[in-house]
Amino acid sequence: MENTSRPFYAALVVLALVLLGWGMQAAHAEGLAFGLFAFLTIGGGLVCIWERSVVRSAFSLLATFSGVAGFYVLLGADFIAVAQILIYVGGILALLLFGVMLTPPDMNERKLTRVLSGLGIVGAGTFWVAMKVGGSANWVVDPNLAEIASRPKQIGVGFLAMNLPDGEPGYVVAFELAAILLTVALVASVYIARRKKSDLEEPALEGGNA
């Protein structure tokens, strides 16, 4: 760890304590869990833009993805939470690392001032939008909310049945379209990566005798 990042990680620990304490004080165990996941999400993002080594930035996304999955669990959407881990951590992050690991560990890739000013602009913008929306939005809270349809069986029926149990049309067309899109993407990637005829021919050797 370079000396410049000591204060940053100290600030991160303080942030963790603040979030955990705040959550604990607001809603006991659930709040504690919320604070933990909020810290993972925000802290992962902060490390991602702070760290000058690309690989560390990529690894910090592990915390962000896991934190978001935790939020899904708190919202009762277990299936999406597990899918988030399976797809983002197991798939996308592994692929990302595969690419990023092949870059040399150059510590001077990113200028700190640029990172900080970017963080400031984006943060201020997000804060402004959040204040605007939070102040003017009229949140409707229905006390008789339907139970969250997060059980695997309900999701499977929703995706594959023409009609849902309550008579609404199902999502089978959208599901099948997504499947076709993915197949097209797979075939296209194989087509792009495949060996062309010109690749198979022996390249002409320079300098005469082979």
């Binding site: 690894f59 597990v82 951590v89 197991g90 560990p105």
Partner: protein, 365 residues
């Protein structure tokens, strides 16, 4: 005795009078995690001893014989003490933070996956609707830890090992998941307890593997993919001691090194457990059936029978993995990739289609 989670019931008896729910939840977390850590440590100890004995007998020797007296039973304790006393070295060129973090991520994700593990019909940490889905998701997280270890070590052997691990696990996750779909079609649930319950017919011998002819190839594919996922020989390319020194483990020593081995044995056990639940009857066997008949459903005897049955099935799976390790030579990396993508994945898809057709026809007639 009524059914339900005995583990939580015991805890709520132990909790102070009138404690709020969140205190109980935190207590359950603490006790559950301690039990898991103890379980995994003991499992790793027993498995290292068993591995040496199995290796010894396959190679016509005895394996450990001296420490502790009977067949060297105390050898893993001596090993553990040695590992704890060893100097904890971090190479100068290593990325210290990631180097320290990697074993924690590897071990943490396998603990997360073990939460879904059922111990007996009424003893479990969490009865999750998403059981198997969660296990697969979290056990794929160990890859990130291994890649992290390989990169942080800043050594070419480690990096090679990490790259191989990433490529191998991404390749074999697909046939692993697809081959599990075959019993999942029959079971109709991700829940490990419900899947086990569904196989209780015929004196506890109505195992999924006998349900249709596509189960047997699916079980074989699952076994091969599980070996590759847990990076056991013949798929131990990320370590490959004769090519890469020790692969991603090269720069690790002492207790950090042993964390990776605890993860490996826990992952082996977990994969065997999944195989046992989704192909070989889970808790169900004639013994469990007899225990249920004598003691009644959800009695202590029934739980004991189920526990012994499942654990012996899983232990046999671990033994099978050891047997294969000391019998088969290591495959090359291109052979690993070819097998995963060109043979196992299409074969698993064919099995799923066949099983779907079979079950549809069985429902129709």
């Amino acid at each position: 005795m009524e059914s339900g989670n005995l583990f939580l019931k015991l805890l709520s008896d132990l909790a102070p009078e009138g404690a709020p729910g969140w205190v109980l939840a935190l207590m359950a977390c603490g006790v559950g995690v301690s039990i898991l850590i103890g379980f995994v440590s003991l499992l790793a100890m027993a498995a290292t001893w068993a591995e040496r004995k199995v290796a010894g007998h396959i190679q016509c020797r005895f394996g450990p014989m001296y420490v502790g007296g009977w067949h060297g039973w105390a050898q893993p304790i001596a090993d553990g003490v040695k590992l704890l006393m060893k100097e904890d070295m971090i190479p100068l060129g290593a990325d210290r933070m990631l180097f320290v973090l990697a074993p924690a991520i590897v071990l943490g994700s396998i603990f997360g996956a073990l939460v879904a593990m059922p111990l007996a019909p009424d003893v479990y940490f969490a009865n999750l609707d998403l059981g198997i889905f969660l296990v697969l998701a979290l056990s794929s997280m160990t890859t990130i830890g291994v890649v992290m270890a390989g990169w942080a070590s800043n050594s070419k052997w480690s990096l090679y090992g990490a790259m191989r691990e990433a490529a191998q696990v991404v390749a074999y996750e697909i046939p692993l998941g697809i081959s599990l779909l075959v019993p999942l079609i029959v079971a109709g649930t991700f829940n490990l307890l419900e899947a086990s319950e569904a196989q209780s017919g015929l004196w506890g011998m109505e195992w999924f593997i006998f349900w249709n002819p596509f189960m047997i190839p699916a079980a074989v594919i699952f076994g091969i993919a599980a070996l590759a996922e847990t990076k056991r020989a013949p798929f131990d390319l990320p370590e490959a001691e004769s090519e890469l020194v020790s692969g991603f483990l090269t720069e690790y020593s002492g207790i950090r090194w042993s964390f990776f081995f605890m993860e490996e044995y826990a992952a082996m056990f977990l994969m065997s457990l999944i195989g046992a639940v989704f192909f070989f009857g889970g808790f169900e066997s004639p013994i469990t059936h007899l225990a249920k008949y004598i003691g009644g459903e959800h009695s202590i005897l029934h739980n004991l029978g189920g526990h012994v049955t499942l654990m012996s099935k899983a232990a046999f799976g671990v033994f099978l993995m050891m047997w294969l390790r000391w019998t088969l030579p290591r495959v090359r990396i291109d052979q690993v990739m070819t097998m995963g993508y060109k043979y196992l994945t299409p074969l698993a898809l064919v099995c799923v289609l066949g099983a779907c057709l079979w079950e549809a026809l069985k429902a129709a007639f």
